[in-house]
């Protein structure tokens, strides 16, 4: 561009040149942004892995306010952050809750439920982002993480005694109708302390449909009860009562035919686990 060009042409050329230069130095092209998001996510995962759940929850909230979710890359990053935030609150609910609620005397006590509300909010966000998040080669891991989130929310509703939403969830999840498949799924997931609630809810679903399946769910709930705070003795007693007297079936050891004792975990004769006992019509 020489001085022989008209002034306007020189102005336009200069402006375009400045824009190109500015474009070259624009912050965070895709690769750089992806690396930055990955670093932030790794720090968040480290906090959760180290048991620093409060820091993880705070950091996740800060990141979610920053991340631009309008494209697939940002949506995927926000999805991963939301899953970590949900996990942090799920762990805080059982390990070190700090959110509070009033008791009957008006004293504010720590509230696992408040943390589970926060957990559910983040998991809902993760689900909503999953529809437009970037597809990577870890789709299977992501699907598993979202499945775990669903199950934790299901357990939350079960703990609250919200029967209608639990029924709706079970009806949608046909793999949960089978005790063996459900147990495999629950063992694969990080659901420590929640399994008794899940099994008990599946027992409720099956008791009027398939008493043999209901028996297995009841036994698994009883077996896992010591791992769950809040899954009280009254609930265990209710399950044991159904096994011992309320079911239309009697359950016997397949090896020695001894009738089940729901207070024990296995046959006292041959150590066959109660869950393997077989049902037959009560005489």
């Amino acid at each position: 561009m020489s001085l022989t060009h008209p002034p306007f042409a020189r102005l336009v050329a200069g402006a375009l040149g400045a824009l190109v230069l500015a474009g070259c130095s624009a912050p965070a092209p895709r690769a750089e942004r992806a690396a930055q998001l990955e670093t932030q996510l790794a720090a968040l995962r480290d906090a959760n892995a180290a048991g620093e759940f409060v820091r993880a929850a705070d950091e996740a909230e800060r990141l979610l306010a920053q991340i631009d979710r309008s494209d697939a890359l940002g949506a995927r990053a926000a999805l991963d952050v939301a899953l970590e935030a949900g996990e942090a609150h799920a762990r805080l609910a059982v390990s070190a809750p700090f959110l509070r609620e009033p008791d009957a005397d008006g004293v504010w006590q720590v509230s696992p439920i408040a943390h589970r509300m926060a957990m559910a909010r983040y998991y809902a966000l993760a689900r909503s982002l999953s529809r437009r998040a970037e597809v990577r080669d870890d789709q299977e891991r992501l699907a598993e993480a979202l499945r775990g989130a669903d199950l934790k929310e299901f357990a939350f509703h079960a703990q609250l005694g919200l029967e209608p939403s639990c029924r709706a969830f079970i009806q949608r999840a046909s793999e949960l109708h089978d005790p063996r498949r459900a147990a495999e799924l629950f063992q694969r997931m990080p659901l420590a302390g929640l399994r008794p609630w899940l099994y008990a809810e599946l027992f409720e679903h099956q008791r009027s449909r398939d008493e043999r399946a209901a028996f297995r769910f009841a036994v698994m709930a009883i077996d896992e009860a010591p791992s769950a705070s809040g899954f009280g003795a009254a609930r265990v007693a209710q399950l044991e009562r159904w096994i011992a007297s309320e079911s239309s079936l009697e359950f016997h050891c397949p090896k020695c035919d001894l009738a089940v004792n729901p207070g024990l975990r296995a046959c006292p004769n041959d150590r066959t686990p109660n869950v393997e006992f077989v049902g037959r019509k009560r005489l």
Binding site: A65, Q66, I67, R121
Partner: protein
């Protein structure tokens, strides 16, 4: 002369788009709603519904979140069909609480302590409040109000079925259908926790 200007505009737009990558554009947080209508408790003894009438001004004469800093919720509590147990509700021992999706918990406020500038509204608040009672069968149950304390102006706001909470510079807004109500009652003399979702509803009437 038009062409370079258009090019300039396009280039500027493209650059603006490229520079957006780290700008904040957070989406809405959406939580799954809890059952609010005729939800039965786990053992089937309690039937409960909870509604916030967005047009409650028709019944009270005032907008209660604005005039009295409380959120009115109409609770319908009854003995579930088939239950033979004795259920007792006492607002003084109920520990009524409203859980918001971000983990904030809002406590209830006794009706007798709620004051507006309007005498009739004050009378209506007390007259329609849920009082201590042995629960009637569900078929005979009637709605009565409980009130959640929104605290000092500036932190919690309620408008058209949504609740907002200010956290520093940020304002979090949730639909009330994403909130959860919890309270205690006695079943055959033993304490029991009950939870129910909240349904924002139009159609307020005098309870």
């Amino acid at each position: 002369m038009k062409l370079p200007v258009s090019l300039l505009s396009l280039a500027a737009l493209a650059l603006a788009g490229a520079c957006r990558s780290t700008a904040g554009a957070p989406g809405a947080l959406v939580a799954a709603p809890f059952p609010a209508i005729a939800a039965e408790n786990l053992d089937g003894d309690v039937a409960v519904e909870a509604r916030h009438y967005t047009d409650h001004k028709r019944a009270f004469g005032v907008d209660l979140p604005r005039e009295a800093r409380v959120l009115p919720v109409a609770l319908k509590l009854g003995l579930a069909p088939g239950s033979t147990r004795s259920l007792r509700f006492d607002p003084a021992r109920a520990a009524l609480r409203l859980y918001l999706p971000d983990g904030t918990v809002v406590a209830s406020k006794p009706a007798s302590t709620i004051v507006t500038q309007f005498k009739r509204a004050n009378e209506r608040i007390v007259a329609s409040a849920l009082d201590a009672r042995v629960l009637a069968p569900w078929s005979a149950a009637r709605e009565a109000n409980v009130y959640f304390d929104l605290g000092e102006a500036g932190e919690l706001f309620v408008k058209r079925g949504e609740i907002s909470r200010r956290v520093g510079e940020e304002v979090r807004t949730f639909g009330l259908e994403q909130a959860l109500i919890g309270f205690e009652l006695e079943v055959d003399g033993a304490p029991r926790s009950v939870f129910v979702g909240l349904a924002p509803t139009n159609g307020a009437r005098y309870p």
